[in-house]
């Protein structure tokens, strides 16, 4: 779920991070581009410039912010990530008085129910595809989730 947000931001942290890398590696210049996003830092002590092209309204970062407190940048490409296969409301237990199906640190087997997602009054179990350890839970029970939204990590 994303609330739109109009002001494109300069990611100052990213600039600092690249500036550090520059010093560390002894490079003269690092240029880094991605889709409509582009950054270039050059010269150890000279000016660093960052341009964020084209985001009419940057809704995407807000969308991520709504999914939990975690920083999702690394999460989205994590090999153990389980994403929501549907739009719905996610539940960590079968009812409020029952303990959660899993908590961080639990070991699960393939086929174990991890969460429920309710859509159209049907509760759909989200099951582990393979055995592993629950390393992160990225949602809170009762929270609405979009298609593709990160739910938890089993590694």
């Amino acid at each position: 779920m994303s609330k739109s947000d109009k002001s494109p931001n300069i990611d100052a942290e990213l600039v600092r991070q690249l500036a550090q890398l520059l010093e560390e590696t002894g490079l003269n210049e690092i240029e880094y581009g991605k889709d409509d996003w582009h950054i270039r830092v050059s010269g150890g002590k000279t000016v660093a410039t960052a341009t964020v092209a084209a985001p009419l309204i940057s809704a995407s970062s807000a969308a991520i912010a709504a999914t939990g407190e975690q920083d999702d940048d690394d999460v989205s490409s994590h090999p153990g990530l389980i994403s929501s296969p549907m739009v719905g409301v996610v539940y960590t237990s079968s009812d409020p008085d029952t303990p959660a199906f899993v908590k961080v640190g639990d070991t699960v087997q393939a086929g174990d129910t991890l969460l429920l997602i309710e859509a159209m009054k049907v509760f759909n179990p989200i099951r582990a595809a393979k055995a592993g350890k629950v390393s992160r839970i990225l949602i809170n029970s009762g929270m609405p989730v979009e298609f593709g939204e990160p739910l938890l990590i089993v590694e």
């Binding site: 779920m1 994303s2 609330k3 739109s4 409509d36 092209a53 084209a54 985001p55 009419l56 309204i57 809704a59 995407s60 969308a63 549907m86 739009v87 719905g88 409301v89 859509a119 159209m120 609405p144 979009e146 298609f147 593709g148 939204e149």
Partner: protein
């Protein structure tokens, strides 16, 4: 009153609806597939929900996901736009069963008009002129021959459940007829799940003329004049205008009133369009579209009305904001559909838009979801923009359209702008002298 609308669509029409909502102080929820996360309709909406992967069956046609999105976002109404679920009676019914408002006609009317044979019988009974032909489905070649003899050759065989020009066959001689019947029926079964077909008189050089209607829950129905949509390629409309260069005022008033009265008799609500073939001064019903149409802005420009606003008012049980006697037709309007496709080969051309610059100034309206740097995804319809131009008369409108097309910059993609520019130079088009086959003849197809 409706306070938050989920817009179950994408592209320019999602933005069109969003704009109307915003201008009425109504909140908006965009839905999108993963391929559309950066789309303009998502960026402009108050809230957005990703409902599925790029494939439309799992996202924009995913009824459960869309209804769930409406529920969790707290929307109290759904506007379906055009295409996708807009004429899906089951969806309309589901929306209502969930206690939400479907911004459109009743599911019963969608159902009625969704089946060609039922639709034809219903509108005929309500007083709308129809093409002479079979009363119902035809499967027996002998029956088909008898009908063809009665109404005269050539005849056309159409799938009862079809639409968009698919599942049709023309028979010019009695010998053709049997083959045509068999092929059409097989195609209909494959494409639409039903082999039922019907036989109709085939018009050789008709124009496509449609009447825009607007109806509320209080028995008020107005017609908003006609649109001439005869410029088609493979049954896809390319350019639409209002008024039609072919009609005079009395024909306009007459067909408008006949259609209006019939739709009133049917107890219809919301917007709708009755499409006709027009030949030799006579109108023949084709179908009724129970939704907003792509070309609705043409009518908005000549009537000074906001059709989406009216739809939302009707859905809120308000009466229409105008009576038939208030409707004024002012000047002339033309819409060019701009597709991401090669202007000669018509090869689709999705991809990244470079510089985007839309034309401006007096009498020019652009409805589009494009922006500089946007990537047109390959999964959806190729229509990327609508350029709608108004002038005090047809000539002024054409001159303005010409200059607006010249100003329009969409770098990085092939678009149909050059095709429209070419149309502006065609004497037949400039003189309004065209039928539904004219464009394909011009293109040598």
């Amino acid at each position: 009153m409706i306070e938050k609308v989920l817009i179950a669509n994408r592209g320019e029409i999602a933005i069109r609806i969003l704009r109307a909502c915003r201008e009425m102080g109504i909140g908006t929820v965009a839905i999108h597939s993963t391929a559309d996360a950066d789309a303009m309709h998502v960026r402009l909406a108050d809230e957005s929900v990703c409902v599925g992967p790029p494939q439309v069956l799992d996202s924009y046609l995913n009824k459960n996901a869309i209804l769930t999105a409406a529920t969790i976002s707290g929307a109290d109404a759904i506007h379906p736009g055009y295409g996708f679920l807009s004429e899906n009676a089951d969806f309309a019914q589901m929306v209502e069963e969930h206690g939400l408002v479907f911004i459109g006609p009743s599911f019963e009317h969608i159902n009625m008009m969704g089946d060609k044979i039922t639709a034809k019988a219903a509108v005929k009974a309500a007083g709308i002129p129809v093409v002479p032909g079979s009363e119902g489905a035809v499967t027996d070649p002998a029956e088909a021959r008898a009908i063809a003899k009665e109404i005269g050759l050539p005849v056309i065989i159409k799938a009862a459940a079809g639409g968009g020009g698919r599942g049709m066959r023309v028979a010019k001689t009695m010998d053709d007829l049997e083959d045509a019947l068999r092929i059409a029926s097989t195609e209909a079964a494959t494409m639409f799940g039903s082999g039922a077909v019907y036989v109709e008189k085939y018009l050789e050089t008709p124009r496509h003329i449609e009447i825009q209607l607007l109806a509320d829950n209080h028995g008020n129905v107005v017609h908003l004049g006609e649109r001439d949509c005869s410029l088609q390629r493979r049954n896809q409309k390319i350019l639409e205008e209002s008024p039609s260069p072919a009609l005079n005022d009395s024909q306009r008033t007459e067909i408008g009133e006949v259609t209006r009265a019939a739709i009133q008799k049917l107890g219809y609500r919301s917007v709708g369009t009755v499409e006709y073939l027009y030949e030799d001064g006579k109108f023949f019903f084709i179908e009724m579209n129970t939704r907003l149409q792509v070309e609705h802005p043409v009518t908005e420009m000549v009537c000074g009305l906001d059709l989406v606003r009216e739809m939302i008012r009707v859905a809120s049980d308000l009466p229409l904001s105008i009576k038939q006697s208030d409707v004024r037709f002012s000047g002339h309007a033309i819409e060019c559909r701009i597709n991401a496709e090669h202007p000669e080969t018509f090869m689709p051309s999705p991809g990244k838009v470079g510089l985007y610059h839309s034309p401006g100034g007096l009498g020019v309206r652009v409805d589009s979801a494009l922006y500089s740097g946007y990537t047109v995804p390959p999964y959806y319809d190729s229509m990327i923009a609508k350029l709608i131009v108004h002038g005090t008369n047809r000539n002024e409108c054409l001159m303005r359209l010409r200059r607006a097309l010249d100003e329009y910059v969409i770098d990085g993609l092939d678009t149909s702008i050059p095709l429209h520019q070419r149309l502006m130079e065609e004497p037949d088009f400039v003189n309004g002298n065209y039928d539904i086959h004219w464009l394909e003849r011009m293109l040598d197809l």
